[in-house]
């Protein structure tokens, strides 16, 4: 039979066990609640990012903004570079046109010079000068006058668009033509378009000079219909003509004379030896 003490111990153990079980159950509940709350927190964290992630996002935003700014700067630089290249292209295009024009002008000058010295035949030289004046300068009516050193008169040796007889002989130093022959300076009328033909007052008068010695003149009275004014290359051509045409004329005349003399001498020699 159990004593009262034994009954008391048994009751306390039972009570303790009950209490322990309740404690265990409570702990289990607490753990479950803890788990539930953790889950809830995670859910909430997913729905409402916490400040730590906000910081990360802000950093990324800042980096992106910096990147955008950097790209904007690059874009501006590229646009400026494109604009610069376009300006350079424009400059190159303009320069190309200038070089082309210069090239054409040089070709004209080269051809004129080449042709002038391609022959020693006097009539052919006059023909070449005529062609240059028509085809390179664009004159329609003009004359080539040569100075007769004995009479000091300027006489037409070749004409274009005008009969040779129409051109009067000019005295050295007299009138525009005579003055140009005397002082050796080019003459251009002020108003080319308003000019009307006058044999004593030409539109253009170019002295043919060997150094400072004038041997003749080119006088222009009318330009071709489409030729309204003179281009810079025309003045270059006039300068070239002034020198090269003069030497070509002088050389061909000398050559003709020497050929004639040679033929005369040869005739004498033949007479003496036969």
């Amino acid at each position: 039979m159990a004593t009262d003490d034994e009954k008391g111990v048994s009751y306390n153990a039972e009570e303790f066990l009950q209490l322990f079980k309740k404690g265990a159950e409570f702990t289990q509940d607490l753990l479950k609640e803890n788990e539930r709350l953790r889950f809830r927190i995670l859910q909430m964290e997913e729905s409402f990012p916490d400040s730590g992630e906000e910081t990360i996002v802000t950093d990324e935003n800042r980096k992106l903004v910096e990147r955008i700014e950097c790209l904007e700067r690059d874009k501006a630089e590229i646009l400026e570079r494109i604009a610069q290249i376009e300006r350079e292209n424009q400059d190159f295009a303009e320069r190309y046109v200038e070089v082309e024009s210069e090239n054409n002008n040089l070709a004209n000058l080269y051809i004129a010079s080449y042709q002038l010295h391609s022959t020693l035949d006097f009539p052919e030289v006059l023909q070449i000068i005529t062609e240059i004046i028509i085809n390179l300068i664009g004159a329609e009516e003009f004359a080539i006058l040569l100075l007769d050193e004995k009479t000091n008169e300027l006489n037409a040796m070749a004409t274009e668009g005008i009969a040779r007889e129409e051109i009067p002989s000019m005295q050295m130093g007299s009138g525009i033509i005579g003055s140009v022959a005397k002082n050796g300076e080019n003459f251009f009328v002020d108003d080319i378009e308003g000019y009307t033909r006058d044999f004593h007052n030409p539109m253009v008068c170019i002295p043919l000079k060997i150094k400072e010695h004038v041997i003749g003149l080119i006088v222009i009275y009318k330009l071709l219909v489409q030729k309204k004014t003179f281009a810079p290359v025309d003045y270059e051509l006039f300068t070239l003509l002034a020198g090269h045409a003069a030497t070509a004329i002088f050389s061909s005349k000398l050559y003709s004379e020497s050929e004639r003399k040679l033929s005369t001498i040869q005739g004498f020699i033949d007479l003496l030896t036969k």
């Binding site: 054409n104 080269y110 391609s118 390179l136 071709l224 219909v225």
Partner: protein
């Protein structure tokens, strides 16, 4: 780049040289020169050309007669022909075009105009 053959028919050596000088700047061209219409016809019969430039006023045979003869030749019915004339010679120019010339250039000759014209007429079909 194919080689184009161009015939220049012009009695003035200065003009021939000027035109040839300009056309030589085109890549792949061979230039042949003739001093009048008859000489031009001889050269046209000896080889085929892709472009013909001819003056109108020439001795022996003028440019108009040449254009007419060339256009009646089966080998040259479609070959471009350019006549060289003066601005004032409007009637000659119109006559040349009616005879079959494709275009014209006026004196004084400008190299860039010849080049542009040659480029447009030599353009492959």
């Amino acid at each position: 780049m194919p080689e184009y053959k161009i015939l220049i028919i012009e009695d003035s050596p200065t003009m021939r040289q000027l035109i040839a000088f300009a056309l030589k700047r085109l890549q792949g061209v061979r230039i042949v020169e003739a001093h009048d219409g008859v000489d031009g016809l001889k050269k046209l019969s000896s080889e085929k050309f892709d472009l013909i430039l001819t003056d109108i006023n020439m001795p022996v045979m003028d440019g108009l007669k040449l254009v007419s003869l060339v256009r009646n030749d089966a080998n040259y019915r479609t070959t471009p022909i350019v006549v060289i004339t003066t601005e004032g010679a409007k009637e000659d120019r119109e006559r040349a075009l009616s005879l079959g010339a494709n275009d014209y250039i006026t004196k004084p000759i400008q190299a860039n105009k010849i080049l542009d014209l040659a480029r447009s007429l030599l353009k492959p079909a």
